[in-house]
């Protein structure tokens, strides 16, 4: 990996390859900082003119915009199916897409821990560049700070994104109405279990891969096919359970799920089973929930399933009138239980 960033310029007395690890000086604003920016970030993003200024002038193609910011602190930094770099792009891009916006540009701020192998940083930045290209967004500003060893977890990333929003687009989690259908764009819990499978102390062998992906294209195909889409939300932390409770509260309605219709990959189900975790509370990084009017539900499902990222999409329930704003699930036994909003992080059970 390091070979690909070897720098051939004339004025660098200490090429980056002499520093196999991030040192405090890489965040000091001096020559080391410049080297890091040029050899790692610009090499991947390839936008020297834009990125070297103190700020970046932008001409936006529309007046109405959506803004979203997110910070990424995942451990480990690399996991089956992706890295913190993929998450940092896809997470913010997907948040923009959930309001129906077309992502336009992003900023990226890094907090690096002294000692992080440069090779790891290069991989992360290359993953970011690739994910940004796939999502059709430019990275237009960035920042790097370095903290002392022991004061960070290798690498933290913050990304802030701007998306273009058509003047008439009204997609919001407070617009669900009784009778609407609830769809998910694919299987749940893949990201959470992929992380679990490689987390220190809990390692288990599995074929589970994170679902990290930009869902922008899929969302815009959905909106084009079903202009009545009321609400979109990506079930990241807290999973489907948190997302649906947020929609129910914001829209002052209830949601009734058919538990058996909720798509969960077989291996993910098994992993959740033996770890004592609930796939409905597990995080996803490339999925979304869509609330659509009943008469557009079949069209929505067909549109989602026609796209590779939506092939396992399903109609999982409906919006109902309920003064308690509860999310309930009809179990295989034919009775109902409440699907609560998770308290915090799920804790693996004793037995």
């Amino acid at each position: 990996m390091t070979a690909s960033i070897e720098w051939q310029g004339p004025h660098c007395p200490a090429p980056l390859r002499d520093y196999p690890h991030v040192v405090l000086g890489h965040g000091g604003g001096g020559r080391l900082s410049t080297e890091l920016i040029e050899q790692v970030f610009l090499a991947a993003y390839g936008d020297k003119q834009t990125l070297l200024g103190d700020s970046t002038p932008l001409t936006l193609p529309s007046q109405r915009i959506a803004v979203s910011t997110d910070s990424f602190v995942v451990r480990p930094l690399f996991f089956p199916g992706g890295s913190i770099g993929d998450l940092a792009i896809n997470g913010t891009v997907n948040d923009l897409a959930m309001s129906g916006a077309q992502p336009f540009c992003l900023t990226a701020g890094f907090i690096l821990e002294e000692g992080l192998p440069i090779e790891h940083l290069v991989r992360i930045v290359e993953d970011m560049a690739r994910a940004a290209r796939a999502a059709g967004v430019r990275i237009v500003a960035g920042d790097t700070k370095v903290v002392e060893r022991g004061h960070g977890d290798g690498c933290y990333i913050n990304t802030t994104g701007i998306g273009m929003l058509p003047a008439d687009r009204q997609i919001s989690i407070n617009r669900a109405q009784a009778g609407d259908r609830v769809l998910v764009s694919g299987t749940l819990g893949d990201h959470s279990m992929a992380i679990m499978s490689v987390r220190e102390g809990l390692e288990f062998e599995s074929a589970i891969r994170s679902d990290t992906a930009s869902v922008c294209e899929l969302v815009h195909q959905l909106i084009a096919a079903c202009p009545g889409v009321r609400a979109l939300r990506d079930p990241t932390r807290g999973g489907l359970a948190a997302t649906l409770n947020e929609i129910a509260e914001a829209s002052r309605c209830g949601i009734e799920l058919d538990e058996q219709a909720i798509p969960v990959n077989e291996v993910v189900r098994s992993a959740c089973e033996f770890l004592g975790l609930d796939p409905l509370q597990a995080a996803n990084e490339g999925k979304f929930v869509a609330i659509v009017p009943a008469d557009e539900a079949d069209q929505a499902l067909a549109t989602l399933r026609a796209h590779p990222l939506g092939q396992f999409a399903a109609i999982i329930g409906q919006v109902i009138k309920d003064d308690h704003h509860l999310v309930v699930a009809r179990t295989a036994m034919g009775a109902h239980r409440i699907v609560p909003k998770p308290l915090g992080e799920q804790l693996p059970r004793i037995c």
């Binding site: 102390g201 189900r269 004592g276 309920d322 295989a332 036994m333 609560p340 037995c351």
Partner: protein, 370 residues
């Protein structure tokens, strides 16, 4: 999932419920001993589809819930020491001690780690020879074999920096205590399948003879539970009382003898305090003298820690089946999963948390359908 989905079939569940309804002629109160069974009953909403004559009383079989408060306080005191790496199963982290919980000790700087197996704690001890690694060895007969093996291995490998804070509890003495408690309403028990997979079910014959109550060894999946309930109701209606195995794909009469030998070598029977219930004679395991070097209570000199339960918390009555969780004044008000007064509100297997999370206190039937 093979071997699981077969036991979650909704149509077969309805058939079993119909068979139970065909047997029942009057009200019966049945206790499922194990918290895992409580969780499954409520999560699958099985309690709602049973005939109204069948009342399921949720027993004391959640190891997190019954671990005594002073043991939690001892754990907190040890975990806060800078020289200690404190290892615990995940769901113990949020259990309230008298002043904090392990998550807060961790936030304040304690090195608290979640492990899946006591062997992971042993590994940490080998990797960190300069630090004391303490494992919180709690649970019923189910977790005891692995804990015993870990302690045995620590001795074999001469690991000087490993110790265990032991608070194991046993099911048969708890059944005995419940049958002897004043106001007991339990007429039959579903014995915990996984406990029996280790210990077998020979220990239950004397209880059946003494109290003339059916005890049915039962699994955890919906069909397992319904079949256990069906067999229990059948015995009750016929006026019979014997030990019956409704979980024969996992449990044999003698159990896992290899595991029993390991337990016997490392642990000895002792009187044990149960959170919310009090001391039950001969109801726990502690380390034998041969393994006392691995006793964290002695190593860290915390035997003096004695504490009281919050007066408001009625978890003890819940654990004995005297009241349902929502009948406690504090339920859902002073006591929620965010601010638990007792451990039954913390663990996923705790009856109070199961009621709170899955909403037995709200009339779901009132949810208006469109």
């Amino acid at each position: 999932m093979k071997y699981l989905d077969e036991f979650r079939n909704g149509d077969q569940a309805k058939t079993l419920v119909a068979r139970i309804a065909g047997l029942v002629t009057r009200p019966w109160a049945i206790m499922e001993v194990c918290g895992g069974q409580t969780h499954s009953l409520i999560r699958n909403a099985i309690d709602q589809i049973l005939p109204p004559e069948i009342e399921m009383i949720h027993g004391p079989g959640c190891p997190v819930c019954v671990t005594p408060l002073n043991m939690i306080d001892k754990a907190l005191e040890i975990a806060a020491r800078p020289d200690v790496i404190f290892c615990s199963f995940g769901d113990m982290l949020r259990v309230p001690g008298s002043r904090a919980d392990l998550l807060r000790v961790k936030a304040a700087g304690g090195d608290v780690r979640v492990v899946y197996s006591p062997l992971d704690a042993l590994k940490l001890a080998r990797e960190n020879p300069g630090r004391e690694v303490v494992f919180l060895a709690i649970g019923f007969e189910t977790t005891a074999p692995a804990n015993a093996m870990a302690i045995k291995l620590a001795k074999q490998q001469g690991l000087k920096n490993f110790s265990a804070l032991v608070s194991h509890v046993l099911v048969p003495p708890a059944i005995d205590a419940i049958m002897n408690s004043s106001g007991n309403r339990v007429q039959a028990f579903l014995a915990a399948g996984h406990v029996c997979s280790v210990m077998g079910f020979l220990q239950y014959h004397p209880l059946v003879q003494r109290y003339k109550i059916p005890i049915v060894v039962t699994g955890f999946e919906p069909l397992d539970l319904l079949d256990g309930i069906r067999r229990t109701v059948q015995q009750l209606e016929k006026g019979e009382a014997f030990v019956e195995n409704a979980y024969s794909r996992v449990v044999t009469e003698v159990g896992n003898t290899v595991a029993q030998v390991a337990i016997e070598e490392v642990f000895q029977v002792t009187d044990r305090g149960w959170r919310g219930i009090g001391v039950i004679p001969y109801s726990g395991w502690s380390l034998r003298d041969a393994y006392c070097d691995f006793d964290a209570e002695k190593r860290f000199n915390v035997a003096h820690v004695e504490t009281e339960e919050p007066a408001q918390c009625r978890a003890g009555e819940v654990l004995k089946g005297a009241i349902k969780p929502h009948e406690c004044q504090a339920f859902g008000k002073a006591c929620t999963p965010r601010t638990p007064l007792g451990a039954t509100m913390v663990s996923g297997e705790g009856a109070c948390a199961a009621y709170y999370n899955y909403g037995r206190y709200v009339q779901i039937t009132k949810v208006a359908h469109t």
